[in-house]
């Protein structure tokens, strides 16, 4: 295996006290790949805050973090990438990504209740990118819809830097009782080890190692390695595992994701402080003549490893049989700390589990700082009259209905705020709790300033939650970067991680887990650094649920946080002038938090009819979205200090648009003043047009441009 370095080989010889055989070399090479071992990113990940009064399971401890939501209930959630598989085979790559993250959640003992997805592609002007985009969306829909977990939100961007290397980050959240938290540990020496789920095939061989390499011509030869997902099997597996966990027969449970049987056996043994011995001859296989190497490294989907309490075997089998799932008793927990793999009784590999799972080499890569971006002295002008419709129909800003109408977002009958507002809001019926969730990352900002961009991403996520009426609980993240061996890429990673950590500390939210995807490069170079933030918040009272669309003519529009002025990294510059330039907006966390707190306070006092944050496209786009994202388009009359591109389209942070009933505007403003938050009445809702100073647009027209832009591009 070419993926291990000479030093790593030496280390392996030391651990084993001998030469590794072929199978063992394969095992080390996947377990010590970036995807499984985080060998290049681990020192960075330590910088995240992970503690908090609500944290029940910390980041890194298990498959997903677990957060208390009150009343004895908790949520488990996490984000995961499937970038490389999706580049090769968009439909199956995205589908199996969804399958993987769902397994992570029910492995914790949680019932998955909703998903989100964060996607990045090259521009839709190219047929190849359209095919990738359509394939990824269809794949997510295929898997999520079939398994019956609603996909209720996400984000999508299009940028040249993702050409040939799309990003597919998927998020899933599940609910469980505190006492139901399941562990991925092989405990109880002598306990039998069960395999359950799809038969093992040659598909996805060594995908984890693959995800840790750059995409190149050589990856085309890896093509048959693509895995095909079976959401139906996973639905059966999900129900069977939850039933199994409830039965009390399970000592430990672990999904087989990246590095399949290898990863699940050595990790459970390592967590349990035990050993695991399995016999590959007993593993259900799909193809004849599979070698131990192939079985150990296969990444066939929809499989789980279950450590069963001794004596409960028959009950466990009857549950698998009820759900018509293939299963086998493949081994047992031992006391010697070894991951011992037999093939028909003959030892084919024997490795100290803990060393394999936990003691991968850790590298401190070299970082080469990039010069900070130069401020843009004289930003180019353009006519706002035409700029606004052009921004609204740009696929990164346009309505994403073409995407989310393909996702079942109403199954489980809990979606209170469907896709199309700042954050999705979901009623978790099991717990009678209402949560809000969002994913955010403006990679344009990160490309110019990875630290600043990451800070802004956390702030925007929290702001989206605040606009929905929620307070943040915790964060999961997905770090998408280029090859870490290139010092400029590693620097971006480090900066972004520190930026995220600063953001999470500022909002006092722990990071509960996430995923690192490196080597996101195509022959054209590395992607823009993309540290995606997934944030979950709690809504205390159903009356606080707020959406972004204007509700009624006559309501007064308030702008919190001021008009702003920073055009650096804006979509105005990129979309209208083709410039990825300037200094991204500053992020003053104190100010940000006071704006969010004020918006929430107003929401809780019952003043607020709608709330929307200003993000891509700035104030003018945010106003237009308030007008056109509701059931019926509603116009508005707005007066700003001046209607220049700088005022209309700057993307300064910490700004929220509220609408309130006419007769409560004065009281709301008084409250804002008392809180020391800059706020101003800027206009009134009503009429068929959006009027901003001397400019005016028919809202029905804006709606059409915005609503059908992506669909039109896709059918062109």
């Amino acid at each position: 295996m070419a993926d291990l370095t000479d030093e790593e080989f030496d280390r392996i010889r030391q651990i084993l006290g001998r030469e590794p055989n072929h199978t063992e070399t394969g095992i080390f090479s996947v377990m010590w790949s970036e995807h499984c071992s985080y060998k290049n990113s681990r020192p960075e990940l330590k910088k995240f805050p992970t503690e908090g009064p609500r944290v029940l399971v910390k980041a890194g401890e298990e498959n997903a973090g677990v957060i208390d939501i009150g009343g004895g209930w908790a949520v488990a959630f996490k984000m995961e990438s499937h970038n490389h598989p999706s580049a090769i085979e968009p439909f199956q790559g995205a589908a199996t990504g969804v399958g993987g993250i769902i397994r992570d959640i029910f492995t914790m003992g949680a019932r998955p209740v909703f998903s989100l997805n964060s996607l990045r592609f090259g521009p839709l002007s190219s047929a190849k990118n359209r095919r990738l985009f359509a394939g990824v969306v269809a794949g997510i829909a295929h898997y999520g819809n079939c398994i019956g977990i609603p996909t209720i939100g996400g984000e999508i961007y299009f940028d040249e830097s993702y050409e040939g290397n799309p990003l597919v980050n998927v998020f899933c959240l599940g609910v469980l009782r505190h006492e139901e938290i399941a562990r991925g540990a092989a405990t109880g020496i002598g306990n039998p080890v069960f395999y359950v789920g799809s038969e093992t095939g040659r598909d996805g061989l060594a995908g984890a190692a693959f995800a840790s390499r750059e995409l190149s011509e050589a990856s085309r030869r890896d093509r048959p390695a693509v895995q095909v997902g079976d959401p139906f099997k996973e639905k059966l597996l999900l129900e069977a595992c939850l039933e199994l966990l409830e039965s009390g027969c399970v000592a430990g449970i672990q999904d087989m994701g990246a590095a399949g049987l290898t990863c699940s056996t050595c990790e459970t043994a390592s967590r349990g402080g035990t050993g695991v011995e399995i016999d590959l001859a007993r593993v259900p296989v799909r193809e004849r003549g599979m070698t131990p190497y192939e079985i150990m490294l296969s990444e066939s989907q929809e499989r789980m490893l279950i450590i069963v309490k001794r004596g409960e075997e028959e009950r466990v089998k009857s549950i698998f049989e009820k759900w018509d799932l293939p299963y086998a008793d493949i081994g047992r927990v031992t006391g010697d700390g070894m991951m011992r793999v037999l093939n028909n009784g003959e030892v084919v590999s024997e490795i100290p589990a803990r060393k394999l799972a936990e003691e991968a080499p850790v590298y401190h890569r070299e970082a080469a700082p990039k010069a900070p971006p130069a401020p843009l002295e004289n930003p180019p002008e353009a006519d706002p009259q035409t700029v606004l419709p052009r921004l609204l129909s740009h696929p990164a800003i346009a309505s994403k209905n073409w995407v989310y109408s393909q996702y079942d977002h109403t199954v489980r009958a809990g979606t209170i705020v469907a896709p199309g507002s700042d954050a999705a809001v979901f009623l978790i019926r099991e717990a009678d709790k209402i949560v809000a969730a969002t994913t955010d990352c403006n990679a344009l900002f990160c490309a110019l300033d990875p630290r600043g961009g990451a800070r802004l991403a956390v702030a925007e996520a929290a702001r989206n939650l605040a606009c929905a009426g929620a307070t943040p609980l915790a964060v999961t993240d997905n770090l998408n970067f280029g090859n870490p061996y290139k010092p400029e890429n590693f620097w971006q990673l480090r900066e972004a991680v520190e930026g995220l950590a600063e953001g999470c500390r500022a909002f006092d939210v722990p990071v509960t887990g996430g995923n690192v995807s490196l080597y996101n490069e195509s022959p054209a170079g590395a992607i823009d650094p993309t540290p995606t933030v997934g944030m979950v918040g709690l809504i205390e009272d159903e009356r606080h649920i707020t959406t972004q669309a204007f509700k009624q003519a006559g309501d007064v529009i308030l702008l919190l946080g001021g008009e702003g002025s920073e055009l650096g990294g804006s979509h105005y510059l990129k979309v209208i002038h083709g410039l990825k330039a300037g200094v991204p907006p500053r992020m003053d966390f104190v100010r940000e938090k006071s704006v969010q707190a004020a918006a929430l306070a107003l929401i809780r006092s019952g003043f607020v009819k709608s709330a929307h944050d200003c993000s891509e496209g700035g104030l003018a786009v945010a106003l237009a979205e308030c007008c056109i994202s509701g059931k019926k388009p509603l116009g508005a009359h707005v007066q700003l200090s001046e209607a220049t591109p700088r005022v209309l389209f700057n993307e300064s942070a910490s700004r929220i648009l509220l609408s309130v009933a006419g007769n409560s505007a004065a009281a709301a403003l008084a409250l804002l003043e008392w809180r020391g938050v800059p706020a101003r009445r800027i206009g009134v809702v009503g009429g068929p047009r959006l009027v901003i100073n001397e400019f005016s647009w028919e809202v029905a027209e804006l709606y059409k441009e915005w609503y059908s832009a992506i669909g039109d591009l896709m059918s062109s």
Binding site: A141, N145, C146, I147, G148, D230, P231, F232, K233, K235, L236, K322, W323, D324, Y404, S405, Q406, Y407, D408, H409, T410, V411, R412, A413, G414, T415, I416, L427, R429, E542
Partner: protein
């Protein structure tokens, strides 16, 4: 009244249906390997992807052990309600005429639609009003109702079409048709009027927090019979 919510492998709206029914009456889950539903007055086949919707939607579920009894009970006049995938299963089992094929757009469609109640003369719609408009969610890839001309004429003649996709003004127009269904058909019953299948999800529109309670009409109709 006793209700059964049948769970096929791959059903995923079973819990949603159960929850709504449970509020009003005695409701049980029935696993598809059971062989009798004779103890129940209403048998619900919920939405989802039974058997992964492999081959054709509902084609494999139609041969589940429980279906023999469902067909038998339907023959005795028991109420049978099929929602979405349940509707597809009922068509495959020939308890309802026609078939549900791929949406004309070739895409899965999840959104809210308006349907017009065509006829209140059934145990599934008699709490409603003929001509009333309901806002209900749909979520399906294969909801395009197909039947040959003769069957369609016969459906009309026997007033078996209970719901049609309509616009806000109540017209069953082409624009209001989300999936290409023949004559905008969203739900049909059998001639005896005790078996009803529909593509929209009334169970997802039975809680004011979700923005519509129009789906309740169907459950209320059923319950007032028992």
């Amino acid at each position: 009244m006793r209700c059964a919510v049948v769970r096929f492998p791959g059903s995923n709206c079973d819990q949603d249906c159960y929850r709504v029914l449970r509020e009003a009456c005695d409701t049980d889950y029935v696993w598809h390997k059971e062989t009798s539903v004779a103890a129940y007055d209403l048998i619900v086949l919920p939405g989802g992807f039974s058997y992964g919707d492999y081959l054709r939607c509902g084609a494999i579920a139609r041969f589940s052990p429980v279906m023999r009894s469902v067909i038998e009970e339907a023959g005795k006049g028991k109420l049978v309600l099929g929602i979405c995938n349940g509707f597809q299963i009922l068509c495959e089992a020939r308890l309802l005429p026609g078939a549900l094929i791929r949406n004309a757009s070739l895409h899965f469609i999840c959104r809210r639609v308006t349907v017009r109640v065509e006829n209140m003369d059934t145990p599934f719609t008699n709490a409603g009003t003929t001509g009333a408009l309901l806002e209900l969610p749909i979520a399906h890839g294969e909801g395009n109702y197909f039947a040959d001309e003769e069957t369609l004429r016969s459906l009309d003649r026997h007033r078996q079409v209970l719901l049609r996709y309509a616009d806000a003004a109540g017209r069953a127009s082409a624009e209001a048709n989300p999936n290409g269904s023949a004559r905008n058909i969203a739900g049909v019953c059998n001639r005896r009027r005790n078996v009803f299948g529909l593509m929209p999800h009334p169970e997802r529109a039975s809680d004011p927090r979700l923005g519509s309670v129009d789906g309740k009409v169907i459950f209320e109709s059923i319950l007032q019979n028992g």
